[in-house]
């Protein structure tokens, strides 16, 4: 057992500054270059899971010519096992709005949108109350950036940024071809920054603490802290803010029930890490990245059932437009069932593994591309459970 305990952090959920929108007010007085430099220096990478450097995303959008630009906060938290954005929006919405406003200043946008997961409708009255107060304050500050809430309708795919734009524009939630990327053509085909809820809070905290202090947390590749949604076979499920770059074995020591067999890092589209790899696995962009979901499985769990569950999810939540994802998900699911039933030989798993590789490199968006993550990591590590 490791002696060192994990470093619990209180950055995201930490108390508001004593004066409302104080950090925003002081940041608005700084130059855009200054803000971007701090962000770059901080090493902040997107908290939605993909980990794109936030400063670069903002810089590209700022540099794209155009009078009309948008800031979008992706609050369509749909990844199975992830529930941290809900908590952030419940406890510190002001930080989120402030982060969006800073982004609006940097890129030259006058309008921000929060695309809120359909199931989070109950939070709308509280969010609107905070938004009213936000709008009052920016008005006083003489800063023109309004924020509006748009509701999702329950499709997982709408968390994919370009599908989210389609949905916001009133279309069917289907990912677009990339390029062009949102930095040049996003919402309403205008240059748009879209970031995760948590990313915006991180931005604000960097503005408050300065990049040097922020950088003290985490590792070279994974700066700062991260809010984790811990679920599964754990005596203490819940939301925890931890330093990035921790080894998985220490995480399991702290959150597992003593019989942990595997941890699914990053939800259904993430990776399954088996017990034997806990020690060598780092949670962060240099190791296994995560949007926050940490699902712990103990030895009573069938990994076949876990995978079956994920594939059922993907089969239903694929938007259905591209072949590899729409049909590939169905084939993976039917395939493991056929092997389990003995209708197909165990070797068929190799065939499916190749298929998942093809899906990874040919699917139109991140959904289809990431199905292979859980599929290959579960099949590779728990092959006997797939067959017998």
């Amino acid at each position: 057992m490791s002696e060192q305990t994990l470093k619990r952090v209180d950055l995201i959920f930490g108390e508001y500054s004593n004066e409302k929108y104080k950090v925003l007010a002081s940041t608005l007085e700084r130059t855009n270059d200054d803000i971007l430099n701090d962000l770059l220096e901080s090493g902040l990478r997107g908290r939605g899971g993909a980990g794109f450097p936030t400063a670069m995303k903002w810089k590209y959008t700022a540099e794209t010519p155009g009078d009309e630009k948008y800031v979008v906060c992706n609050a369509d938290e749909g990844e199975p096992g992830t529930f941290k954005d809900r908590e952030i929006l419940y406890r510190v919405p002001r930080k989120v709005f402030s982060g969006m406003a800073i982004c609006g200043k940097v890129i030259g946008a006058k309008k921000g949108y929060m695309y809120l997961r359909g199931e989070y409708k109950f939070m709308v009255p509280d969010l609107i109350k905070e938004l009213d107060s936000y709008h009052e304050h920016v008005k006083e500050l003489g800063f023109d950036f309004t924020i509006e809430i748009r509701m999702g309708s329950g499709a997982y795919i709408c968390g994919e940024e370009s599908a989210l734009f389609e949905s916001m524009e009133g279309g069917r939630g289907e990912p677009r071809n990339k390029p062009p990327y949102p930095t040049t053509s996003g919402f309403m085909k205008k240059p748009t920054v879209i970031n995760n809820v948590e990313t915006f809070v991180n931005v604000l905290m960097i503005m408050r603490l300065g990049p040097d202090q922020y950088k003290k947390l985490g590792t070279t590749d994974s700066r700062g802290s991260k809010v984790f949604s811990v679920s599964g076979d754990t005596p203490i499920p819940g939301i925890y803010e931890l330093e990035l770059g921790m080894p998985l074995d220490r995480f399991v020591d702290e959150f597992g029930d003593g019989d942990t067999k595997a941890v699914q890092v990053g939800g259904a589209s993430g990776f399954c890490v088996p017990r034997k790899k806990f020690k060598d696995t780092v949670i962060g962009f240099e190791g296994v990245p995560t949007g926050g979901s940490m699902m712990i499985f103990n030895s009573s769990r069938s990994m076949y059932n876990v995978l079956h569950n994920y594939l059922e999810f993907f089969e239903e939540e694929s938007c259905g437009q591209c072949t590899p994802c729409r049909v590939g998900c169905q084939q993976l699911l039917k395939g493991i069932v056929a092997v389990k039933k003995g209708e197909k030989k165990a070797l068929y798993l190799d065939q499916l593994m190749k298929l998942s590789e093809s899906m990874k490199i040919t699917a139109k968006c991140g959904l289809g591309q990431s199905v292979a993550n859980s599929f290959s990591s579960i099949v590779n590590n728990f092959k006997e459970e797939m067959i017998y």
């Binding site: 499709a155 289907e174 259905g320 729409r326 590939g328 298929l355 699917a363």
Partner: protein
């Protein structure tokens, strides 16, 4: 000037304009990258993923149809990764697709089948998903059949319906494994805003959208010794039928087509062009009548602009979308329906046949004609005026079934009467043709002189794909009885493709444009690009057909409808006068409003 982009494909350097895709660059090098969802007439979807290629230093395989070429890009179209991925994708499509090819109407003309045979998939790498899918076939429509089991979800039809036609009868429904192409509340195509134009059929890569075929019924009629089977052929068929039988695009095959129809056993081979000429006489007088009512009688109820009514896709479109403008439609039936009504009256009398034994068949470049023939409005002869409508494609199939060597057939002439026609009738097949033909006649009625255009070619009204044509013809030195038209500038608009028809009608409705006469053809390029024409279709093919149509016009001895001798004869023997009582009864009709939903 567009910027030049240099890239390397399969080791060969190529330069393209900025904005060109990898696919376009590859085509420039004659490197064939397979595609399925891609179609030149439509926006890029990038959803089938068949066209993926490998780009050096990039992890994922980009879809070549949707990815712009960038400077210094190094592309491989046939690497190990690409071959594996492409094979997987085609196998996945096949696993979801009802691949019972010998039972499919598109057998032999299916892009998925072509791809499968080209790649020699054959392995059935994956499980068959078809049995679980509970696919449905929409067989209720009289014109188009939609078989979801053949659908590969490429969305070409959806894009066609929305972009080219602004109809949006077809859309995507559900998601994931249940995703499918469907209609409003999954109603039959028969019950929704579908205009039956068949543009989706022309672009469907598989057999998911096909015309309802009446080949067997027509054979039965031909073999029935008690039936007299009359066949009429539309103007646009003669410039496209060759394509369905392996000939080059844009060949005029009128004579061979007549010979083939005779050999198939039709009792009489006649020409829709005859009734196209008749349409011009009736419609021309109708226009002049409306102008007189408006200008002389100052009748406020007269509906102007008058719009043509030859295109049944357009008729259904206006019924659904602009029902308040139904009075503006010419009351003339389409040439097909005029022909049908006359076949069972005038023709039957003249040939001393009992009309109940006359079977009237038409060969059309169109799927909407099938719907039109089944309309309740189209029974004025006391019988169903046109019994069966076959597309150009169906005729091609019948010719193949009969084992005729089409290219070697002699050139034969249409039977008479109702077989003679003019160049004015031929150009009905191209956008702007009805307008031009009508002007050739109406101008001469009013002024006694030929239209003041070189060689009768009224080029300003000849439509162009992708735009609305507007033209103004000044009427001068009129005959005394038409004095009210002296100096009038006749304003015309010509639209092809329903998206452009919609623009014209919106402009009329919003008062942004005033016209006297509007010609609308539902399909891109007019009938030559009709939903019943040979597949594939693209702008190049349609342009060649168009050139052939105007060539045919130029080659006709008579090029003005009112000079067709059989037209004079039919008025003398049967119809008496244009817009007369008989005409009204047999050749004119009215349509009724329909709802959008």
């Amino acid at each position: 000037m567009a910027k030049n982009i240099n890239l390397t494909i399969d080791g060969i350097n190529v330069t393209v304009d900025e904005g060109a895709t990898i696919l376009e660059a590859a085509r420039k090098l004659n490197i064939h990258i397979p595609t399925l969802c891609y179609h030149e007439d439509l926006c890029v979807a990038g959803n089938c993923r068949v066209c993926v290629v490998e780009q050096e230093k990039v992890r994922n395989l980009p879809a070549s149809c949707a990815t712009p070429a960038t400077e210094g890009m190094v592309i491989h179209t046939n690497s190990m990764k690409v071959r594996m991925a492409r094979k997987h994708i085609v196998e996945l499509l096949l696993s979801e697709h009802n691949a019972d090819c010998t039972k499919c109407y598109k057998n032999g003309n299916c892009e998925l089948q072509g791809l499968a045979s080209q790649m020699l998939t054959g392995d059935h790498l994956f499980l068959d998903l078809v049995p679980d899918k509970k696919y449905t076939i929409d067989m209720f429509n009289t014109a188009i059949i939609k078989d979801d089991s053949r659908c590969i979800r490429c969305q070409r039809c959806v894009r066609t319906c929305e972009e080219l036609q602004s109809v949006s009868a077809l859309g995507v429904a559900y998601k994931g494994n249940k995703m499918k192409i469907s209609t409003f509340f999954e109603h039959s195509l028969f019950e929704v805003v579908c205009t039956n134009c068949g543009q989706c059929v022309n672009r469907c890569p598989t057999g998911a959208l096909i015309e309802r075929n009446y080949i067997d019924q027509v054979w039965d009629a031909i073999y029935d010794p008690n039936k007299h089977v009359v066949v009429q052929t539309a103007p646009a068929v003669r410039v496209a039928l060759g394509e369905a039988l392996g000939m080059a695009t844009g060949k005029i095959v009128t004579g061979k087509m007549v010979a083939a129809l005779r050999r198939l056993g039709f009792s009489s081979v006649l020409d829709t062009d005859f009734t196209a000429d008749l349409t011009i006489i009736e419609e021309g007088h109708e226009l002049l009548n409306r102008l007189k009512k408006a200008l002389v009688d100052k009748d406020p109820t007269v509906a102007l602009p008058m719009a043509t009514s030859c295109s049944p896709g357009w008729i259904k479109f206006i019924e659904h979308t602009f029902p308040e403008y139904l009075p503006n439609l010419s009351t003339c039936k389409s040439p097909q329906q005029m022909f049908g009504a006359l076949a069972k009256t005038y023709y039957a009398q003249k040939r001393k046949l009992d009309p109940k034994n006359v079977v009237s068949v038409s060969i059309m470049p169109c799927t909407a004609k099938k719907f039109e023939a089944n309309r309740p409005e189209m029974r004025s002869s006391g019988y169903k005026d046109v019994d069966y409508v076959l597309t150009t494609r169906e005729l091609g199939i019948m010719i193949k079934q009969a084992g005729l060597d089409f290219e070697e057939l002699p050139e034969e002439k249409f039977d008479s009467f109702m077989g003679s026609s003019t160049g004015a009738a031929v150009i009905f097949g191209s956008t702007g043709g009805v307008m031009e033909a009508a002007l050739r006649t109406a101008y001469e009625i009013v002024t006694g002189r030929e239209v003041p255009f070189d060689g009768l070619n009224i080029v300003p009204v000849r439509g162009t794909e992708g735009e609305v044509r507007e033209a103004t013809i000044k009427i001068e030195k009129v005959k005394p009885e038409w004095s009210f038209l002296e100096g009038v500038e006749l304003k015309c608009a010509v639209a092809n493709g329903l998206a452009h028809a919609k623009t014209v009608m919106q402009n009329v409705r919003d008062g942004k444009a005033t016209y006297h006469f509007i010609e609308v053809m539902a399909c891109p390029g007019g009938c030559l690009g009709g939903g019943g024409q040979p597949i594939p279709t693209n702008k190049e093919i349609r342009t060649k057909r168009k050139m052939a149509i105007y060539e045919e016009d130029m080659g006709m001895p008579i090029r003005k409808s009112h000079e067709n001798p059989e037209i004079a004869e039919i008025y003398k023997e049967f119809l008496e006068k244009p817009l007369g009582h008989k005409s009204h009864e047999l050749l004119h009709t009215h349509y009724t409003p329909r709802k959008r939903y």
